[in-house]
Amino acid sequence: MSEPKNPLRKYLRPGSLPHFFCSGCGAAQVLNLFTQAADELQLDWDRLLGIGGVGCAARIPVYLDIDAMHGIHGRTLAWATGAKLANPELKVVIFAGDGDAAAIGGNHLIQAARRNLDVTMIVVNNLTFGMTGGQVAPTTPQRSRSTTTPYGNPEEPFDLCRLVAAAGGTFVARTNTYRPRAAVSLLKKALQHEGFAFVEIVTPCPTYFGRKAIGSGDPVRVLQWIEDHSLTLKQAEGQDAEHLAGKFVLGTFVDTRKPVYRGGSLIPAQEVGDA
């Protein structure tokens, strides 16, 4: 009898396995969650363009059987803008780590949100630079240890959803990989959204964040730590900043419509709002 095959396996690029993710890596889970969401939406895989920069999460489109760009750190949104404007029929999905999106690519992030570029950006936030060995990221919790903050991180982390919402993103949401069904549901909403859709998924990096910041490389313990530090938007209601410090608020922060970006100049005779 032949081995049972995962029905989502057909979405993976032929010959791309085995993958390179560590055991318990959240990016690998996001790969799984994305294929579920895309499958449930019956996306046209010939029209999908997956964009990854550099990092663990950036490898996700390497494994998806779609057109893909990969291997430049922080420029995913520049690529996405060029491809989307050259061919608006493409469904462009970005897979970025937190370092890629918020450190080296931070300016592109706020500009794309401001323009309301019509792409889906999935930020796999593992709270560290995983591929390079666990260095501090703009998302690493304050006082956490990392390989470049051996005595603790003095900086306040970014709240990426607040940043993108303030910059003008029209769909902004956060979840974690402890809640896979919620994550698939959010990804589906993001993929159906017309405009800049930003989904942050807080994910475990047992190898580095786990070992350095919380003292355990056990994937289950790291995932549990994330969930223990998460609360829903509803639970967060009325709580002051002190109580919310170091917590991940999960939910949809923005879901609105605005004209999407179609290029650097209105076409002649086109009015603002006409798009």
Partner: protein, 387 residues
């Protein structure tokens, strides 16, 4: 004419114009079929962006002003893979930032055109100081194709040639402009559309299951389908095998880098262009590129008027180095004169190619000013002083 396709008359402004060099670049790009431009403000390249912003809507193309030069160069590479002929333009300081994107275009074999209007470290004066960065700026092993126009007409013609070479060989091509010609107005003759040779990239003819996206002869490049056509290709900067897979293997890496460098070097006749002036009987050979060819030619004519057998080899392609032409000249002449507007950079290439077959005299300066013909003539006469 099909709907959405700009008419040739909008794209190609046939006729004689008195035009700014930066605008001639734009007209050349549009004539070549460019439909995507992204740029970031920088002097003295701004008129390229501004003219693109006005012209692109007329031809149904896309103009973007991004947040920096990295955005520009990456937007251009992605637009190209999405099927567009794409270009960006900048000046020296912005060109620094673009090197990383050029490396991507080299490695993933993305056709695109990058214009660098060279300037003097933040000041908009004449220089040719980026000549080595244009060759060596990007990381990793690569050949670069760099064209050096010397007039408004050549800015138009060579921009078209840049697109054609980019499409033909799946490479980034650099148009190395200069403050001098970029901000100069001269006569420009734009031919009829059917008189302009336009190259389109090769596209696969076989279905996806029979198409190997990075398979090509050892000195060739593979056809390139656009995103969305169902070929589902991974375009990574990482060393990739013929299927686009990025698992490390020294032999695979070696084969890729041999091929993407050979595909340039093996097509020397097609890529390397020079022009000869008074070289038939020359014993004093000037070698120059870009705007320095203008005073150099005048100096040659003045030298001829004094009975000196001088001539000029004008390099229209600066990279790859026109080694055959420079080598032949070194074998023919007593002295070669390396004329350029920098500390003396390309002169090293001329000396290398000359290989001791003749004396090489450096005629260089970097003072924000093009050489005066008299300065070059003086250098020629000085070199003959002891004879």
């Amino acid at each position: 004419m099909t709907t959405g396709t700009p008419s040739a008359s909008r794209r190609v402004r046939t006729g004689t114009h008195f035009m700014l060099g930066n605008h001639a670049v734009v007209e050349g790009a549009l004539a070549a079929g460019c439909s995507f431009f992204a740029g970031y403000p920088i002097t003295p390249a701004n008129e390229i962006s501004e003219h693109m912003a006005a012209r692109m809507p007329e031809v149904g193309g896309t103009f973007l002003q991004g947040e920096d030069e990295l955005f520009s160069v990456y937007a251009v590479t992605a637009a190209s893979l999405a099927g567009a002929k794409a270009m960006t333009a900048t000046a020296s300081a912005g060109y620094n930032y673009m090197q990383e994107g050029i490396e991507y275009a080299v490695s993933a074999e993305v056709p695109c055109v990058i214009v660098d209007v060279q300037r003097c470290r933040g000041e908009n004066y004449a220089t040719q100081a980026d000549i080595m960065q244009a060759r060596w700026g990007a990381a990793g092993d690569h050949e670069m194709v760099v064209l050096a126009p010397s007039s408004v007409q050549e800015l138009f013609d060579e921009t078209i040639r840049a697109f054609n070479l980019a499409e033909k060989y799946r490479i980034p091509v650099i148009v190395l402009s200069e403050t001098t010609i970029a901000l100069m107005r001269e006569n420009l003759v734009i031919p009829e559309p059917d008189q302009i040779e336009i190259v389109q990239r090769a596209r696969p003819t076989q279905p996806r299951d029979q198409f190997v996206p990075f398979a090509a002869p050892p000195d060739g490049c593979p056809p390139l389908p656009a995103f969305g056509e169902g070929y589902r290709i991974l375009h990574s900067i990482n060393p990739h095998d013929e299927r686009g897979g990025i698992r490390w293997n020294p032999d695979v890496f070696d084969r890729l880098y041999q091929r993407i460098t050979r595909k340039v070097l093996a097509h020397y006749e097609d890529i390397v262009k020079t022009e000869a002036f008074y070289l038939d009987d020359a014993e004093l050979g000037l070698v120059a590129y870009g705007s320095e060819t203008r005073p150099a030619l005048e100096a040659v004519e003045q030298a001829r008027a004094r009975g000196l057998r001088a001539g000029l080899l004008k390099l229209k392609t600066v990279w790859p180095v026109p080694e055959r032409e420079i080598g032949a000249l070194a074998a023919q002449c007593r002295v070669l004169f390396a004329v350029e507007m920098n500390i003396g950079k390309y002169a090293g290439e001329i000396e290398r190619v000359a290989g001791g077959r003749c004396e090489v005299v450096r005629v260089t300066k970097n003072r924000g000013l093009v050489h005066a013909p008299g300065e070059i003539l003086a250098a020629i006469e000085k070199s003959l002083g002891g004879r």
